[in-house]
Symmetry: C2
Subunit: 329 residues, 2 copies
Amino acid sequence: MTAIPGNRKVTRKDVARYAGVSDAVVSYTLNGGAPVAPATAERVREAVRLLGYTPNASARALKLGSSHMIGVIVPDSTNPFWAELCRWVETVARSKGFAVLVLNANDSKAIRLEYLQTLASRQVDGVLLTGEIDALDVDRFNATGVRWAMLNQSTTIDGALGVGVDLAAGARDATAHLIWHGYTRIAFIGEMADARYGGWLSTLTEAGLAPGPLFDAKFTREGGYAAGQALAASHDSVDAVFVSSDMLASAVLRALHEADLAVPGEIAIASFDGSPESEYSWPALTTVRQPVQDLAAKAVAQLLHREQPPEDEQLLAGTLIVRQSCGCP
Amino acid sequence: MTAIPGNRKVTRKDVARYAGVSDAVVSYTLNGGAPVAPATAERVREAVRLLGYTPNASARALKLGSSHMIGVIVPDSTNPFWAELCRWVETVARSKGFAVLVLNANDSKAIRLEYLQTLASRQVDGVLLTGEIDALDVDRFNATGVRWAMLNQSTTIDGALGVGVDLAAGARDATAHLIWHGYTRIAFIGEMADARYGGWLSTLTEAGLAPGPLFDAKFTREGGYAAGQALAASHDSVDAVFVSSDMLASAVLRALHEADLAVPGEIAIASFDGSPESEYSWPALTTVRQPVQDLAAKAVAQLLHREQPPEDEQLLAGTLIVRQSCGCP
DNA sequence: ATGAAAGCGCTAACAT
DNA sequence: ATGTTAGCGCTTTCAT
């Protein structure tokens, strides 16, 4: 009497008939919409078990106007940092009964918007967005009618919910640590549009140090490798480098090793993210850990409970994890 | 007149009224269910645009009995190999109009089954499953009533759709390459339950070589690191090692470097997966690349088009990528 | 404590 | 070429 694949799907009506009650009572039993006599409830549960009944989420979503799903749009779920963040989002959302749709926007604003619309049509209850955002984007996002919030936003912007990590502060911590080590010619690898660039620059300036060379790199392994090679070529004028992401840094490491440059001996490194990968590179990376779990939890809470957090809680702090690539023992 | 957030959702009926046609015509225009006069179609499309209408996917799913979603259950989407595979699944599925729900089962069979049920209740059109599977599992999976197939299955099993990579053959290729280099004491790091273990073992035996030491390791970075340390401790009796995954291998690399052992000089390495990470480790890993894109495409096709492939196409071949960790220049 | 029935937004068979 | 309508499976109001 259990469900046999290929059989017609068993619906709530089947359960009702089998238990000798009305459809409503099944609903009451399952969702607690009204009191049900213990004996009846037991009969219903028994029928559910026997028939192998599972509620139809589409029907439920249609009726309730909520799919109990949220969407997340990241630049690249293959980047360990985003992978970890998405996994936390999934974990947090699941614990609240929500499923998660992850989409890759490939660093494209156009794709991000397109996917947001796709998600909207799928009736998701909210979407977590990543990447740069300006006032125009806010309007476009709002036009979809779907609730949204920024995940890991880099700058707070009016009318936009979201949490992020204080990238500039993190970069300052990392750079300051490098300076503390006594390095004076500290390079930068990453995107200049990124807040980490500003953090690096201001820290050097305030310390009275001339900013070291600057290697523009997209957030890809190829980009990191190329920047690493460029860095190796000019290693005479550099004794340390701040790299904007662990993924980039591990590729930089490879380029430096290839050029037979000792890390941290000839060039010290501090990077950003605190991804699992950073702990197992050689040497282990000194890095600014982003509080991914917290980020995920806060973002989901904002999205689902419409919690507008106080402004000063929209930027979380990263924590410097000191390992060996900076020169610490 | 465009959608303003907070407004009542605009439905197909609104579009119909605005365009001065019946609900059906809107459907015909959008889905091509029946011929529509060009002028009418244009009016409808105009209304859609003006009102910012997006079809309600829940209603559609309820009506059609298909949510146009599939699920994927992996052990750990944070592992670069799974991350890449999931991304391909998403890409392939998207191109066919399907969205993807990714769930992490944490290497637990119980969780895998639980999630399969969750997905079933969400009316997904199919689920891609990973990990070990036996006849009992097949029954349990079938009992959910949802269509499923194995993604990256290690062994074909009766009554189960799916594609996988010939792990044993891949491990043989890698081990053979190590032997070709002249190494004679070749260790193994990975899980013994895995087909790669058999491939490693048989290749050594057939070559008349005594199997080197064997370090059991779960597929985690911690596991790889511990195994690497054990390997380093017994490096006198080892000149090469086959590691079952890139993620493991990169942690092994770290342990070896820490022990000041030269790779490939003192211990050569060949590993498995061909993840992006493997190219940018130091030294770059010689590894067996799994055809992730092909895997994803074939699995999705089987799931969606109910294509039962010929038996000999259920196991795809990996390709050995020769880089430096094996001793090649 | 339980039942009857309306209606969520959509598609498709049938009628015109 | 276009309109009318039933019904997908569910929740929930209102009766009983």
